[in-house]
C-alpha cells in the first residue's frame, strides 16, 4: 500500500528541493531539469470565442489566460527589498540562523497558504479558469487557489486572510489585480521577508503576442516593514501536460528535520510528524495538539 519507487523518488525530490532552497544562500537560482519543455503550440485557449458583453470586457475580446501554464523559472528570493532597519535586523537574524545550518521554517514550508507565495515563488504548474465575472488560479505548489473578481470593489469590512481579497480589471491586454486584506502570517520569500496586514499588492499580467508567455509584474507595498514599494517579475509559459501534479505538503514533516529548524513564527511548528520506525516498528505519523514553545522567534 505504498506509492511506487518513481513516485516516491519524485516526491522526495520535490520535498528536498523545497528545503534545499531554504538552506542554500544562493541568489536567483533557477530550477534546472525535471520540467517539460515549453509547449510548441500557442497558448491554450488563445483563440477562444468572443466574450459576452459584460462590464470591462469589450465584445469580441479573446480570452487571455485560460488553460494550463507552468512557471518559467523557480525563483525563491527577492534580492533587493527596501527593508526598514527593524526589518533588516529580523532578516539578518534569520539569515544567521540559516548560515549556521538551520532550516528556516516559513509559512510556505509549514504548509500554509499566502497568495504572495504564489506571486513570488510558485513551482510547477497552474490552471487558469476564466469566467466572465471572475478568474480562478489554481496553483500546484504551494497548493492554493486564488479568486480574482473582475470589475469589483474590495469589501469595506474585509476580514484579514492568507489569500487577501483580489479584484481585477483589464487594461488593454493586461490584467491588473489589486489585493489587500492580508493577515501578515506569511513571508514573501524563502529567506523570510515579513509581511503585515498593511500589505498591498498590484499584479500586472500580460500575455505575449505569440501566446507563449505571460509576464507578471508584481508590486509590493507594506509600510510596516519596507521603506518603499518594490516590484518583481515572474513568467508563466504554456504547460505541455493536461494535468497537474499534486503537492501534498502535509506528508513532509519528518522527525529528523526538526533538530536544526528555525521557526520564523511559533505558529509554524508542526502538529504532525512522521517518525521513521526501527526494526519491525513501522514508520508512523503522530499528531499532537500544539504546546507553546519556549524558543519562539515570533516577531
Amino acid at each position: 500500500m505504498s506509492r511506487g519507487p518513481l513516485a516516491r523518488a519524485l516526491h522526495a525530490a520535490s520535498c528536498s528541493l523545497a528545503l534545499f532552497s531554504l538552506a542554500l544562500p544562493v541568489i536567483g537560482a533557477a530550477q534546472e531539469g525535471g520540467f517539460a519543455p515549453p509547449d510548441a503550440e500557442p497558448g491554450i485557449g488563445e483563440n477562444g470565442p468572443p466574450r459576452p458583453d459584460v462590464p470591462g470586457i469589450a465584445p469580441g475580446q479573446p480570452r487571455k489566460l485560460t488553460g494550463m501554464w507552468e512557471i518559467e523559472r523557480f525563483i525563491f528570493l527577492i534580492p533587493d527589498a527596501p527593508m526598514l532597519p527593524a526589518t533588516k535586523a529580523l532578516y539578518d537574524k534569520q539569515l544567521a540562523a540559516m548560515n549556521s545550518g538551520q532550516i528556516l521554517y516559513t509559512a510556505w514550508t509549514s504548509c500554509r497558504p499566502g497568495a504572495p507565495s504564489a506571486m513570488v515563488m510558485p513551482m510547477n504548474s497552474l490552471a487558469v479558469i476564466e469566467g466572465d465575472r471572475d478568474i480562478t488560479l489554481s496553483f500546484e505548489e504551494p497548493r492554493m487557489t486564488r479568486r480574482i473578481r473582475l470589475n469589483a470593489q474590495h469589501p469595506a469590512d474585509l476580514a484579514p486572510s492568507y489569500m487577501g481579497d483580489s479584484v481585477g480589471h483589464w487594461e488593454g491586454d493586461t490584467l491588473v489585480i489589486d489585493t489587500i486584506g492580508f493577515n501578515g502570517q506569511f513571508q514573501l520569500d524563502s529567506f523570510g521577508l515579513p509581511t503585515s496586514p498593511r500589505l498591498h499588492t498590484v499584479e500586472r499580467l500580460t500575455k505575449s503576442a505569440d501566446g507563449k508567455k505571460v509576464t507578471i509584474q508584481t508590486t509590493f507595498e507594506d509600510p510596516e516593514y519596507y521603506s518603499a514599494p518594490f516590484t518583481i517579475e515572474r513568467a508563466w509559459i504554456p504547460h505541455a501536460d493536461r494535468h497537474q501534479f499534486e503537492y501534498d505538503c502535509s506528508e513532509n514533516p519528518r522527525e529528523e528535520e526538526f533538530a536544526h529548524t528555525y521557526f520564523v513564527q511559533d505558529l509554524y511548528r508542526p502538529t504532525c510528524v512522521r517518525y521513521e520506525g526501527k526494526g519491525l516498528d513501522p514508520s508512523r505519523v503522530l499528531c499532537r495538539r500544539r504546546e507553546q514553545g519556549a524558543d519562539d522567534h515570533e516577531h
Partner: protein, 242 residues
C-alpha cells in the same frame, strides 16, 4: 436535513473568515450553458462516514478486502490510526473529498472545469479537451477527464493513489480504480452526483454511491489551514456520522 447537518452548515455560515460581505454572485461560465448551470458553491446534503451503495447495500468487497476494512473499522477510534492520511492533513483524494462536510466550488470555462474544496485548499482540474487521460504517477485526485452527455457532466478518473480511502473508516481502493462521476442538476436545483467505483482488486463488481448537494451562495470558500485545527485539539476532518 438532520440536526447534525444543520449544525455543520450553520458552522460554515457563521465562520466569519469565510464570509465576506458584498461578494459577487457565482460567476457565469464563459460559453457553455451546461457548465454555467453547475457553477457555484455547493454543500453535501449528507456526509457518509461509512459508504453504502445507492440501494443501501454494503459495498461488494472481496473477502480479503472485507477483512482489511473490518480491521480498519476496529482501529477507527485509535487517535494514531495510520490508514487515514487526512488525520495528518494529507489529501482525502477523490471521491472521498466529495463526501466530507465541507463546501466546494465549481468553476468552468470551455477548456477546464475546476473543483475548489474548502478542506485545506485542495482542488482538482478536469480536462475537457476530449483526449484520453495520461496518468503518470498515482495521486490523490487522479487524472480526471470530462465530457458532456446531454446535460450530464461525466468525469472519468484513473491514476488514483491507493494511499487514500473511500471513507472515514478506511474503505479501500487500488491504483487501478476507475471512477466515473455523473453530475447533473435536479429540477429542485440540487446537484446530483453518482460515483461508480470499478475496482476488481477490492470489489466483486462495480458499485455506485449517490449524493446530492445544495447550493450555498452565501458561503465563500477561503482560507483553511488544517494544522491549525490539530493545534487546537480538533480533528483534521470534522466528524461524520457512520
Amino acid at each position: 436535513m438532520t440536526g447534525n447537518e444543520t449544525l455543520a452548515r450553520g458552522a460554515w455560515m457563521l465562520a466569519g473568515s469565510l464570509i465576506l460581505a458584498g461578494v459577487a454572485p457565482p460567476a457565469a461560465a464563459a460559453g457553455d450553458a451546461r457548465a454555467d448551470r453547475i457553477e457555484g458553491t455547493w454543500m453535501p446534503d449528507r456526509y457518509p462516514g461509512r459508504l453504502l451503495a445507492e440501494d443501501g447495500s454494503a459495498p461488494p468487497l472481496t473477502p480479503e478486502a472485507a477483512k482489511l476494512y473490518a480491521d480498519r473499522i476496529a482501529a477507527h477510534d485509535d487517535p494514531d490510526r495510520q490508514y487515514d492520511r487526512t488525520r495528518w492533513c494529507a489529501g482525502p483524494g477523490i471521491p472521498r473529498i466529495m463526501f466530507i462536510p465541507y463546501p466546494f466550488e465549481i468553476r468552468a470555462d470551455e477548456d477546464l472545469i475546476g473543483f475548489i474544496y474548502a478542506w485545506y485548499r485542495w482542488h482538482r482540474v478536469v480536462d475537457m479537451s476530449g483526449r484520453e487521460p495520461d496518468p503518470i504517477l498515482p495521486q490523490t485526485m487522479g487524472y480526471p477527464v470530462g465530457r458532456w452527455d446531454g446535460d450530464t457532466l461525466v468525469i472519468e478518473t484513473i491514476g488514483t493513489t491507493d494511499e487514500t480511502t473511500l471513507d472515514e473508516f478506511g474503505l479501500p481502493h487500488s491504483e487501478d480504480m476507475v471512477l466515473t462521476e455523473k453530475l447533473d442538476l435536479l429540477p429542485d436545483g440540487k446537484l446530483r452526483a453518482t460515483y461508480t467505483i470499478d475496482d476488481a482488486a477490492f470489489y466483486t463488481r462495480p458499485w455506485t454511491v449517490e449524493m446530492t448537494y445544495t447550493r450555498v451562495p452565501e458561503v465563500v470558500v477561503g482560507d483553511d489551514v488544517c494544522p491549525d485545527r490539530i493545534a487546537a485539539g480538533e480533528p483534521a476532518v470534522r466528524s461524520m456520522q457512520p
